[in-house]
């Protein structure tokens, strides 16, 4: 049974949790029927993308290593942390170089966060088949997958068909066939842009399908190959797909299924 909702109640719910609009049927229904509330919902999603960017402060790998080193010492574990899919960049080199060149940017003391002086990014190694523009996006995709490892253990759908449709609609995508079984769908920011994080059923295990509308940076199709995953980047003028699964998956077969199943709306 769908509960009737007024605009004030919708905005209250959406302002508290924009993601709830995709999950709760009565919110979804109201958003699809009220243009003003739908616009409000879009503005909340846009704000959350910026918030995610702002919250995600770069952290130094050697700082993380140090935080865990005491536990490793206690447990007698082998020293040295290897974080899967990560390559460490020297923090000290960044610090020294940045301090040398630093000038006062703003007269007011502002509480902004780590820049080149204090940060080193987790790097992902990729095959050279990926053009430069793709590497940054693919890095974000892989980081995002690591951020939500529980999605890779799904055996049953956790998102309703109506919610999946809503997510696809947000992306400007139509699902043409049911060749692919979608287990989960949610909206998330990739490289500062609202994207869709889908989990689809692969041959061996759940596979990640990222849908990123628009192609302003001119990304091109290519392969994604990291320590834990292999995948394909499918680019077009309308947007990009990233199909990423474990090393045993037949990613080319999945890529074909994705092309057959999803279509960018004109």
């Amino acid at each position: 049974m769908v509960v009737k909702l007024d605009c004030a109640a919708f905005k209250r719910a959406c302002g508290a949790d924009p993601q709830a609009v995709v999950v709760q049927e009565h919110l979804m229904k109201h958003s699809s029927e009220c243009a003003d509330c739908d616009q409000f919902y879009q503005s909340m999603l846009a704000l959350d993308v910026r918030l995610m960017q702002a919250f995600t402060v770069p952290v130094a790998q050697n700082s993380l290593d140090e935080q865990l080193s005491h536990v490793q010492h206690l447990s007698g574990s082998v020293a040295g942390i290897h974080q899967d899919d990560a390559k460490v960049v020297s923090l000290q080199a960044h610090k020294e170089s940045a301090n040398k060149n630093r000038t006062t940017k703003r007269p007011k003391q502002r509480f902004a966060w780590f820049g080149a002086a204090a940060a080193s990014m987790l790097m992902v190694s990729f095959l050279f088949t990926l053009p430069t523009n793709n590497v940054a996006i693919a890095e974000d995709v892989i980081k995002h997958i690591h951020h939500e490892p529980n999605l890779l253990t799904l055996t049953e759908p956790m998102t309703s068909p109506a919610a999946i449709d809503m997510v696809l609609k947000q992306m400007g995508i139509t699902q043409k066939s049911n060749e692919i079984k979608v287990l989960a769908a949610k909206l998330c920011p990739i490289k500062g842009q609202l994207s869709a994080h889908l989990v689809i059923q692969g041959e061996m295990s759940p596979v990640t399908l990222m849908i990123m509308p628009g192609n302003k940076t001119g990304t091109k199709s290519g392969n994604i190959d990291s320590h834990a995953f292999n995948g394909r980047f499918i680019s077009s003028a309308a947007g990009n797909f990233a199909v990423v699964g474990n090393k045993l998956e037949d990613i080319d077969a999945l890529k074909k299924q994705v092309n057959n199943s999803f279509q960018w709306n004109k």
């Binding site: 209250r12 940017k105 509480f111």
Partner: protein, 186 residues
Amino acid sequence: MTEVQPSPNFDQFSMSFSADLYRYLLWLCKDPDTASDVAQETWIRAWRSWDKLRDAKAAKQWVLTIARREFYRILDKRRDHHYNLEDAMLSNPQHFVNEENDQVDQVRDALWELDDDYREPLMLQVMMGYSTEEIATAMDLKQGAVLTRLFRARKQLKDVLEKHNPDLGQVGKSELENFNNVTPFK
């Protein structure tokens, strides 16, 4: 006393969660040195009690609870010596300058203008992916209170971002009016 060995999954979990936990603590502690100290203590405590963790799926929330308690414990201890979080942040200005993206800086500045009680639930929701029920449990609040804080946090952020940069907010006047006309949760 013999130390109990942690379960085999501890290493994997700690490696996958350490970055997110540290980020959360950076925002909570406002100071990277304190955040590192709290993170270190948190992992030690988590490791020592790892065998008591009944539900592996609750690991993140469990570790975060330890982290929050540790933060407040260290804060109380330091306050005895006139330690002030804001001063700690100001004493390390070189850590808090972001030269990469002005827009991101502006949003971060707006986040710092939020009350701690509004910023934390927003951080748990947006950055850590917590549900409102999980935030309520983590912060020992009723769910209605969490929803109100989240709503007010977003409202305040929109107001601040619009004031400093009308384009950054990308929100029309009607949306702000909508926000202002909505009654928060009881």
